[in-house]
Symmetry: C2
Subunit: 185 residues, 2 copies
């Protein structure tokens, strides 16, 4: 991967964060980042390959979210949610949602397997937040699957409404439930 290629990938990535991947087109992209379709195809081989490179690039940003760990599921959920709720991550998360949804309907193409891969990514991180004894039990699997669902569902809500307060309260509610049923009422 040449220096020029990295540079253009980075620029294209910023462009994709702003404009989405759904109707990404080489000519507008190229002019926006000061290049040409000819060059993009020369460096990346094809548009599909470029999109794959962009998804891989987005994944490295997403992995930052998954770094670090807590010693129980609640800590991990709290940390991940803080990351998800941050305004500056919203473009990336929109891109993520777009790729996720698209990979559900198009089994071929550059999107293929994206949804499945991120489920495994995230479940792995949540598993790291569980005590070893619980991790391998069916109940442990169900519990981290639930934690994943809450985070993803809350993310969808947040992206649609921007209502950080309401959605954040819901996540805290879940944390209270997990911590031992001390929820109000």
């Amino acid at each position: 991967m040449s220096a020029r290629q990295k540079e253009l990938l980075e620029a294209a990535y910023r462009y994709a964060l702003d404009n989405g991947l759904a109707d990404l087109s080489l000519r507008p992209l190229a002019t926006a980042i000061g290049s040409s379709p000819r060059v993009l195809l020369f460096l990346f081989g094809s548009k599909d390959a470029l999109v794959r490179a962009l998804l891989a690039r987005a994944r490295t940003d997403e992995l930052a979210l998954l770094e670090g760990s807590g010693d129980d599921l609640g800590d991990v959920v709290t940390r991940v949610w803080t990351w998800l709720a941050a305004e500056e991550h919203r473009p990336l998360l929109r891109l993520w949602t777009e790729a996720y949804a698209r990979s559900l309907t198009e089994p071929d193409g550059p999107w293929a397997g994206f949804a499945r891969a991120t489920v495994d990514d995230w479940l792995g991180v949540l598993a790291a937040g569980q005590p070893a004894a619980e991790r391998d039990t069916p109940a442990g699997l169900a519990r981290r699957t639930l934690a994943l669902a809450v985070l993803r569902g809350a993310l969808l809500d947040l992206l649609a409404t921007g209502d950080t307060e309401r959605v954040g309260a819901a996540v805290r509610e879940q944390l209270a439930l997990l911590r031992g049923c001390g929820f109000p009422q």
Copy 2:
């Protein structure tokens, strides 16, 4: 809305369930449903209007999911989840996810407002499953937001992995938490 229009909309809807809306194109659609681009444009006005009609059509199917009610949040969650997990509803739910994701990145176009609208739809139904006294409190709002997140997150997981057992167990885990903290361990 003429009879012919209803008929074609229904056929186009079935086509969209199979092929998605992302790269829907008039000519392939028209030949698949035994019509022509000319006719589709005559009856619906434009492609955007046709897509809007398809989204509205999908919404009526989705409203079936929201019909009926239980007398507490757990009942509603159980009923909705049963509907979501059914194999035969998967094409509709993929379509739903696609439209949701797309409406996040493209504020204009036929998708606009779709995500926001369904959040309100679903929250309304969940609110109907809450006691009147709880419904209007901040805690009540947080609790149904949480229920929504669990359902949506579980749905995303299910669509990506098809693992009904694991995801179903997660939802049941949440129901146990709600029912009074009687979760194992």
